[in-house]
C-alpha cells in the first residue's frame, strides 16, 4: 500500500515538474540542491527571486516563439 502511495506521489512530482517546465520554470528543489552542493559559499535565490529570474530568461532577448 505504501509502495503505491509513494509511486503516486512520485508520479505527482513528475507531473508538477513537467507542467512547470512547460512554462519555463525548472525544479526549484533541484536548484537549491545544486547551490548547496556546488556553491555552499553563495546565497541561493528565494523562490520568488528564482521565478523572476526564470521569467526574464524565458522572455528576454533572443527567444523565439512556436509555430
Amino acid at each position: 500500500m505504501s509502495g503505491l502511495k509513494s509511486n503516486l506521489s512520485r508520479f505527482r512530482g513528475y507531473f508538477e515538474q513537467t507542467a512547470k517546465l512547460m512554462i519555463g520554470v525548472p525544479d526549484y528543489d533541484t536548484y537549491l540542491e545544486h547551490m548547496r552542493t556546488r556553491h555552499p559559499d553563495q546565497p541561493a535565490m528565494t523562490y520568488t527571486e528564482f521565478l523572476d529570474n526564470r521569467l526574464q530568461a524565458r522572455y528576454g532577448a533572443g527567444k523565439a516563439g512556436c509555430c
Partner: protein, 688 residues
C-alpha cells in the same frame, strides 16, 4: 532465432499499419471511420521510431550514453539542468506544438484527407522528426548553441547573417498569418471577440495575483485563471444574445486588425510578468490539455470521415488555396510533417537540459511524432464535418457571395450537397450569425471539435460552448505567440539595427525599445492588413508564403545537419538529411518561383499585379479597390509580396551554395573538422 522473435511484435504492428493505410487509401465512395487513420498513423509512428530513429541514433549520430551533456558540464540549476527525459519531453512538446499543425491540415482537406494524411506521415518520418532530432543532437554537442550560431560556426559568418535575416523575415510572416487566423475567426462574432478580449483582464489579474497577492503560486492561479476563462465563454454567450452589448463586440475585420496591432505593441513593451507570462501559462496548459482531450474524444467518438478521400480540387482549382497538389500541398501542411521553426526550439532551451545523450531520440524524434499526431487529429476534425459546410466556411466571399443561398448554390455546383438551411442551422448551432468565408482553419477546426466534444459532453445544446472553447483555445495561444514573437523580433531587430547605430542595441533603452517594437509591429501589421482586405480572403495568398518560408527554414536546418555529418566524416550516412533537404528545396523553390511568376493571377503575384495594372490603365476598378489610389496600392503590394518570395528563394539558394562548399571542403580533409564539446575525461577517445 530469439532475435527474430524480438521483431515479431513490430512486424505485427507494421502489418496492421499497412492494412489500415490500405483501407484508408483504397476507400472509394464509401465513408470510413476516423479510427482507421488513427491506427495507420500510430503504427507508422511506432515502427519508424523503433527502427529508423534507432538507426539514426546508433549509426548516424553514434549517441554515447557516457558522454557528458551541456547540462552536466554547466549545471547551474537554472538554464542547464539535467532533466528527466519524460519531463523534458513535455517541455519540448509544449514548445513545438502551436497553430501550425492545427491550421495546415484543415486547409489541406480541400483536396480530401488522403493526400494530406500521406504527406503528414511520410513527411514526419523522413523529414520532420529527422530535422528536430538532428538539430537537437547538433546543438547538444555544441553546448546548446542556437541555430544562427550553429550556422555561423559550421558554414561561415556570411551564411550565418543571411540565415539570421531570413529568420527575422520568416517570423514577420508567421506573426502576420497567425494574427490573420484570429481576425478571420473573430470578425462579426461578438461571442468570440468578447471571450478572447476577456483573456486580457484575466491575464492582468493573474499577473498581479502572482506578483503581489500570493507570489509564486503558479498552479493555484492557473486553476483560477482556467475557471475565469470558462466563465468568460459562458458570459460571451450572454453578450451575443444581448441587444445592447452584442453590437459593441461585433467588429469588422479591419477594426480587429487595428486592435490587434495596438495590442501587440502594448503587450510587448509591458513588463512580462503583467501580461505575457500569465497568458503564456494559461495558453500552454489549455493547449496541452485540449490536445489530450481531443485525442481521447476522437478515440471514444470514432467519427466517420465525411470528406471524400480525394476531391476534384487536387487539380489545383480549389477555393481555399490556389495551386496544384505539387508543390502546394507540401507547403500548406508545414508543421505536422516538417517545420523549420522546430529547429529554433531544438537549438533553444531543450538541448541545455538533456540528461543523457540517448534521450534525444525520445525527445527529438518522439516529440515530433507526437506533433504529427496533432496534425492527424486536425485533419480528422476537419474531415468529419459535412464537406459542404467545410467549403462554405473556407471559400472566399469572391467565390461564394455573401448569402447562404448563393453559397449553397456554388457549393452544389462543385458536387457537394448542401442547402442554405444547413448553413444557417450550423451557424445557429455554434452560436454565430454567419459561418461563411471564415478561412484560416481555426473556425473549421472549432466546428469539428465542437461536433466531436458535444457528442460526449452535453449534446447539441453544448455545441456553441464547445465551438467558442475551441476558438478561445486557438486564439489564446496564437496571441501569446504574437506577443512573444513581437518581443523576440524586437530584440533581433535591435541587434540588427545596432550594427548601424549603437545606442539602439541597448535593450533596456526606452527609445530603442519603442522604435524596434514599432517597426516590428508595423511589419507584421502591414501584411496582416493586406490579408484582411484581400477579396480572396488573405489566407489564400499568405498561407502559402508562410508555408514556403517555414519549409525553407527546415531546408536550411537540414543543410546545416548535412554539413555537420560531412564534417564528422560520416558522409556515408548523409543521405539521412540530404534526401529530406532535397525534397524540401524542390518543393519550396518551385512554390516560391510559382508564387512570383505563375501566369494565373490567383497564384502568381506578378500576374496579379499585371491584371490590376491593365485595368488601372483602362481606368477600370477591380475589387477590393474602390479608388485608383487603392488600385495602385494593390499593385504595390503585389510587387512587395513578389519581392518577399524572391528574397526567401535567394536566402535558401545562398545557404545551399555555402552548404555545398562546406561539404566539399570537409570531403577534402582526411579527419573530422567539426568542433564538438569534449567527450569527457573517463570516456575520452582520440579522433571521435
Amino acid at each position: 532465432m530469439p532475435r527474430i522473435l524480438n521483431h515479431a511484435p513490430w512486424l505485427i504492428l507494421a502489418v496492421l499499419g499497412a492494412f489500415a493505410l490500405g483501407t484508408v487509401a483504397l476507400a472509394r465512395g464509401e465513408t470510413i471511420n476516423a479510427l482507421w487513420l488513427v491506427v495507420a498513423a500510430v503504427c507508422t509512428y511506432l515502427v519508424s521510431y523503433r527502427y529508423y530513429s534507432l538507426f539514426i541514433a546508433t549509426r548516424v549520430m553514434r549517441l554515447d550514453p557516457a558522454r557528458p551533456t551541456p547540462a552536466m558540464r554547466h549545471n547551474d540549476g537554472l538554464d542547464y539542468v539535467p532533466t528527466n527525459q519524460y519531463v523534458l519531453f513535455g517541455h519540448h512538446f509544449a514548445a513545438i506544438a502551436g497553430a501550425g499543425p492545427l491550421v495546415g491540415p484543415v486547409l489541406a482537406a480541400q483536396m480530401g484527407y488522403l493526400p494530406g494524411m500521406l504527406w503528414i506521415l511520410a513527411g514526419v518520418v523522413v523529414a520532420g522528426a529527422v530535422q528536430d532530432f538532428m538539430i537537437l543532437f547538433v546543438s547538444m554537442r555544441r553546448d546548446g548553441r542556437s541555430l544562427g550560431e550553429l550556422i555561423k560556426a559550421e558554414l561561415g559568418d556570411i551564411p550565418g547573417v543571411i540565415a539570421l535575416f531570413g529568420t527575422f523575415m520568416i517570423m514577420v510572416i508567421i506573426l502576420a498569418v497567425l494574427a490573420l487566423v484570429v481576425v478571420k475567426a473573430l470578425t462579426n462574432s461578438p461571442w468570440g471577440f468578447f471571450t478572447v478580449a476577456a483573456t486580457v483582464p484575466i491575464a492582468l489579474f493573474m499577473g498581479v495575483y502572482m506578483r503581489f497577492l500570493r507570489p509564486g503560486r503558479i498552479g493555484e492561479i492557473s486553476i483560477i485563471g482556467f475557471f475565469l476563462l470558462i466563465a468568460a465563454i459562458l458570459l460571451g454567450g450572454q453578450v451575443a444574445q444581448s441587444e445592447t452589448l452584442a453590437p459593441m463586440f461585433t467588429l469588422t475585420g479591419v477594426q480587429i486588425t487595428w486592435i490587434l496591432i495596438g495590442y501587440g505593441f502594448v503587450a510587448s513593451v509591458l513588463p512580462v510578468w503583467l501580461l505575457l507570462a500569465p497568458r503564456d501559462y494559461l495558453s500552454t496548459f489549455l493547449k496541452v490539455g485540449t490536445i489530450v482531450m481531443l485525442a481521447l474524444c476522437i478515440l471514444l467518438v470514432a467519427p466517420p470521415m465525411k470528406m471524400p478521400s480525394i476531391t476534384r480540387f487536387v487539380d489545383g482549382t480549389g477555393p481555399v488555396w490556389s495551386g496544384s497538389l505539387f508543390p502546394f500541398l507540401f507547403i500548406t501542411i508545414a508543421c505536422g510533417a516538417v517545420s523549420g521553426f522546430h529547429a529554433l526550439i531544438s537549438s533553444g532551451t531543450t538541448p541545455k537540459m538533456v540528461e543523457n545523450e540517448v534521450h534525444t531520440r525520445f525527445i527529438g524524434y518522439g516529440g515530433m511524432l507526437t506533433e504529427s499526431f496533432v496534425a492527424i487529429m486536425a485533419l480528422v476534425a476537419a474531415s468529419c464535418i459535412e464537406p459542404g459546410i467545410y467549403f462554405a466556411m473556407n471559400s472566399p466571399p469572391a467565390v461564394l457571395g455573401t448569402t447562404a443561398e448563393s453559397a449553397a448554390q456554388v457549393i452544389n455546383n462543385w458536387g457537394f450537397v448542401i442547402t442554405p438551411e444547413m448553413i444557417t442551422q450550423t451557424a445557429q448551432d455554434v452560436g454565430e450569425v454567419s459561418i461563411l468565408s471564415r478561412a484560416g482553419g481555426a473556425p473549421t477546426l472549432a466546428v469539428g471539435m465542437a461536433q466531436i466534444f458535444s457528442e460526449l459532453f452535453g449534446g447539441k445544446a453544448m455545441m456553441a460552448f464547445w465551438y467558442h472553447f475551441a476558438i478561445l483555445f486557438e486564439a489564446l495561444f496564437i496571441l501569446t505567440a504574437v506577443d512573444a514573437g513581437t518581443r523576440a523580433g524586437r530584440f533581433m531587430l535591435q541587434d540588427l539595427l545596432g550594427v548601424f547605430f549603437k545606442p539602439l542595441q541597448r535593450t533596456a533603452s526606452w527609445a530603442g525599445n519603442l522604435i524596434a517594437t514599432g517597426l516590428c509591429v508595423a511589419a507584421w501589421g502591414y501584411i496582416l492588413y493586406q490579408g484582411v482586405v484581400d477579396p480572396l480572403g488573405g489566407i489564400n495568398t499568405f498561407w502559402p508564403l508562410f508555408g514556403i518560408s517555414n519549409q525553407m527554414l527546415a531546408g536550411i536546418a537540414l543543410i546545416l545537419a548535412t554539413v555537420v555529418l560531412f564534417r564528422m566524416k560520416r558522409e556515408r550516412y548523409a543521405w539521412v538529411t540530404m534526401v529530406p533537404a532535397a525534397w524540401l528545396l524542390i518543393c519550396t523553390l518551385t512554390a516560391g518561383v510559382q508564387k512570383v511568376f505563375h501566369s494565373n493571377p490567383a497564384i502568381g503575384f506578378l500576374a496579379h499585379a499585371e491584371r490590376f495594372s491593365t485595368a488601372a490603365n483602362e481606368g477600370r476598378l477591380l475589387a477590393p479597390a474602390t479608388s485608383m489610389d487603392q488600385m495602385r496600392q494593390v499593385i504595390f503590394n503585389d510587387y512587395l509580396d513578389a519581392a518577399l518570395a524572391s528574397l526567401f528563394v535567394m536566402v535558401v539558394l545562398a545557404v545551399l551554395v555555402f552548404g555545398i562548399l562546406s561539404c566539399l571542403k570537409a570531403l577534402r580533409s582526411d579527419r573530422p573538422t567539426t568542433r564538438e564539446i569534449p567527450t569527457g575525461g573517463a570516456t575520452a577517445r582520440a579522433g571521435d
